[in-house]
């Protein structure tokens, strides 16, 4: 057993405890009042969209639930998973879409093109589907260099080939100079759900293990530094990659022990854990010492005052796995080139429901909440 498999063991014990004194203190009463306030239906208070609404944190969740879910409400949309699962005569299909506005368009390790393909492929893979077909929509700004567009298209073609998908339909719009920032790409994708598994953020149970497929935060930090606004340079490249292969290997090895898969894009690992805690009504307890963060990413994040737990990856995912399948799951992940750094980072517990706790390396405990505001806009 590797050290990483054991580090979160304390948490398993921890979360079995369900203390809760019969006479809550004044502070505890306040905390209960806050928990009730947070459970209320979100209401959008702002009169205009701010950058926070796109950050993947609390404001994004409120926007989705108060505007889009309110308008489109249906049973397929309601679970708010990475993609919808459709039942057809031909079998079960997964269907998803994603838009890309990253700035700069080209960065070490990738560009908006492979990001757009991998992002949608990964959303399908996280549903447990085999990705098949993609669409691609382009919004281009007047004056955008054709050579850059060709470079983006070539990169999309390479990524599609690597992922075994075809881009079979598309659309192009051009807007006046100044009305867009060069090039935005939207992709949608369909895949076949061939396995008899249901992956859902609501499926986590106490005792489950939380795994991550490799070092976190590489993509977000790379893009941030590539903007050149900070006069910091670091030897780090984006982790953008298609995850369908490693996800399939994991599902083959750990079968129905896999509760859910989520790629750790906008909002990072912290946001996924919060989604799981709320959707499943459980606590997620993370171990800071077990978090895989490259020293260079850690250093840059420290300088920027950003917590790597919230920094986007484009080729890493979180898996929640039943305790008896943890060893098999980790072995399968580590056997794949994209999962060599896979580790267990925490455990699902019962109490307090809806919260993510972090046991710090320093020996304390704190909450890991959804992020408010956007420390790194336009990262994908």
């Amino acid at each position: 057993m590797s050290p990483h498999e054991t580090t979160a063991g304390w948490a398993e014990e921890a979360v079995r405890e369900h203390a809760g004194s019969p006479h809550p203190s004044r502070e505890e009463q306040v905390l209960e009042r806050i928990a009730r306030a947070r459970a209320r239906k979100p209401r959008i208070r702002e009169e205009r969209i701010t950058l926070s609404h796109g950050a993947g944190g609390k404001a994004t969740h409120t926007l989705i639930e108060a505007v889009f879910l309110e308008a489109f409400r249906n049973p397929l949309l309601e679970p708010l998973e990475d993609g919808a699962s459709l039942v057809t005569a031909a079998g079960r299909l997964a269907f998803t879409t994603d838009s890309f506005v990253v700035s700069p368009l080209f960065f070490p390790g990738g560009d908006i093109g492979d990001l757009a393909v991998n992002g949608t492929v990964n959303d399908l893979a996280m549903c447990g589907a085999r990705p098949l077909y993609l669409s691609a929509g382009f919004i281009l700004e007047e004056g955008f260099p054709v050579a850059d567009l060709q470079r983006i298209a070539a990169s999309m073609a390479r990524a599609a080939e690597a992922a075994g998908v075809q881009i079979v339909t598309g659309d192009t719009k051009v807007v006046q100079r100044g009305k867009a920032d060069g090039c935005y790409v939207t992709t949608a994708g369909v895949g076949m759900l061939e396995r008899d598994v249901v992956l859902s953020a609501a499926a986590a149970r106490p005792g489950d293990a939380v795994l991550v497929s490799g070092p976190i935060g590489d993509h977000g930090i790379t893009v941030m530094l590539a903007r050149g606004e900070l006069d910091i340079s670091a030897d780090v490249v984006s982790d953008t990659a298609s995850l369908h292969g490693i996800a399939a290997d994991l599902l083959d090895a750990a079968g129905d022990g896999v509760r859910l898969l989520r790629d750790a894009t906008r909002g990072g690992v912290a946001t996924i854990c919060n989604e799981v805690a709320v959707a499943s009504g459980v606590a997620v307890v993370l171990e800071e010492k077990a978090l895989p963060v490259r020293p260079v990413v850690n250093g840059a994040a420290e300088l920027l005052g950003i917590d790597p737990l919230y920094v986007a990856c484009e080729g890493r995912f979180v898996a929640v796995v039943a305790p008896e399948q943890v060893a098999a799951a980790l072995a399968a992940l580590r056997a794949h080139p994209l999962g060599e750094g896979a580790v267990r980072i925490g455990t699902v517990g019962e109490d307090p429901p809806g919260l993510v706790l972090l046991r710090t390396a320093f020996g304390g405990t704190r909450i890991v909440d959804l992020l408010v505001g956007d420390p790194l806009p336009r990262i994908c």
Partner: protein, 375 residues
């Protein structure tokens, strides 16, 4: 990470925690105020209170640069941003601070050109790159950041950049501490003293606290082990019957401060007779403004700032939180009407604000979780 991880070591923390527990006089309770918001942030982010015995209470102080900005100054800055051809530049922390009529973020969404920068030099770069615009830097912060604002003004002068100005909100830490010491509703035993501020002003300005008020102060670094050893230092003073200013952060803080930085501040700025602090009211000699010689870089002189006065919302108890009179969760609106998404008070906005730190990191029942998460 070198120079960081060694100050976050769990084993060393446990050893210090044992020493701290042993240094407490049985039956006695201690209240220590950490002045800096950076310390408050560290305390919650690393779960430092898990290492402290019940006898020690940490009281969060006023040293959060964003938290002390009154609503009127936010409105004034928005009024600047709404003037023709103005780009307002600001640290990211300020963007969500509510003024009387919304925040910078709201104003930006409504069309004002407000940009986030990481330093005043970045703001100067914006001015250099946009010669047809008038670029205003929203300068905030204690003596830690004042020298960089002053340096930037000197740089603008040297380069002949005329479209750059500063909306100066720099504040001074000692008058704020004096206001705390004069506050009737507070009983403290000592201070975890400022860290980065002291790199500029040194430790000498705090000596009156020990001498005249009989309270020890230990200047502390910002890593969690720094804070634990500063608390240990305070307890040692009680055990030895001493009452002094000590410097735990000697690796960064020179006793006499940084004379060059102080000279740069003095060259460009002078002390204001009085300045309004969020929740603390008007405090004499508590802030800086540009000297008349640099009026052409002073946004308050160039634009005629409206000088808005906005009373704090009646429900908001930021003042009591900033004075350490109440804990964040004791505020009437904490966590229900006032949250990081919809802050009423400034303490809920900045990552260094006590309310935000408690809400984001400490909002769980320690008694329920403490035993549960013990290794």
């Amino acid at each position: 990470m070198r120079y960081v991880d060694e100050y976050r070591d769990g084993d060393k923390a446990r050893a210090l925690a044992t020493a701290i527990a042993a240094s407490c006089e049985p039956g006695r309770r201690y209240s220590f105020m950490e002045i800096c918001g950076g310390h408050t942030h560290t305390i919650y982010k690393h779960g430092l209170e898990d290492h402290l015995p019940e006898a020690i209470t940490l009281v969060h102080g006023p040293g959060c640069p964003v938290c002390v900005i009154p609503m009127g100054r936010v409105d004034d800055a928005i009024a600047l941003a709404e003037q023709p051809d103005v780009i307002l530049t600001s640290f990211g922390d300020m963007l969500r601070v509510p003024g009387g009529r919304g925040s910078f973020l709201d104003s930006k969404a409504a069309g004002a050109d407000i940009r986030m920068v990481y330093s005043p030099l970045d703001a100067l770069k914006v001015a250099r790159n946009n010669p047809e615009k008038r670029v205003v830097f929203m300068a905030i912060g204690f003596e830690t950041t004042t020298p960089s604002t002053a340096m930037t003004i000197l740089r603008a002068e040297a380069e002949g950049i005329e479209n750059f100005s500063v909306f100066c909100n720099h504040v001074r830490v000692v008058p704020a501490i004096t206001a705390i010491l004069d506050s009737p509703d507070l009983r403290l035993d000592g201070f975890v003293g400022p860290g980065h501020v002291s790199t500029v002003i040194g430790c000498e300005p705090y000596e009156f606290i020990a001498r005249d008020h009989g309270m020890p102060l230990v200047c502390s670094g910002f890593e969690p082990l720094d804070i634990l050893s500063s608390i240990h230092g305070l307890l040692q003073q009680f055990a030895d019957g001493r009452c002094e200013v000590e410097n735990e952060y000697a690796r960064v803080v020179p006793w006499a401060g940084n004379p060059k930085a102080l000279a740069v501040i003095d060259e460009v700025m002078e002390v204001r007779e009085t300045f309004e602090w969020r929740g603390l009211g008007w405090i004499p000699d508590s802030a800086m403004r540009l000297r008349p010689e640099y009026a052409r870089f002073d946004a308050e002189q160039i634009f005629g700032v409206p000088g808005v006065r906005v009373a704090d919302p009646p429900a908001c108890q930021c003042g009591e939180v900033l004075r350490g009179a109440i804990k964040p969760w004791e505020c009437k609106v904490f966590g229900t009407a006032c949250t990081p998404e919809t802050p009423i008070g400034t303490c809920m906005v900045s990552s260094e604000g006590a309310c935000a730190a408690y809400y984001n990191f400490g909002r769980f029942s320690r008694s329920r979780v403490k035993e549960a998460t013990a290794p």
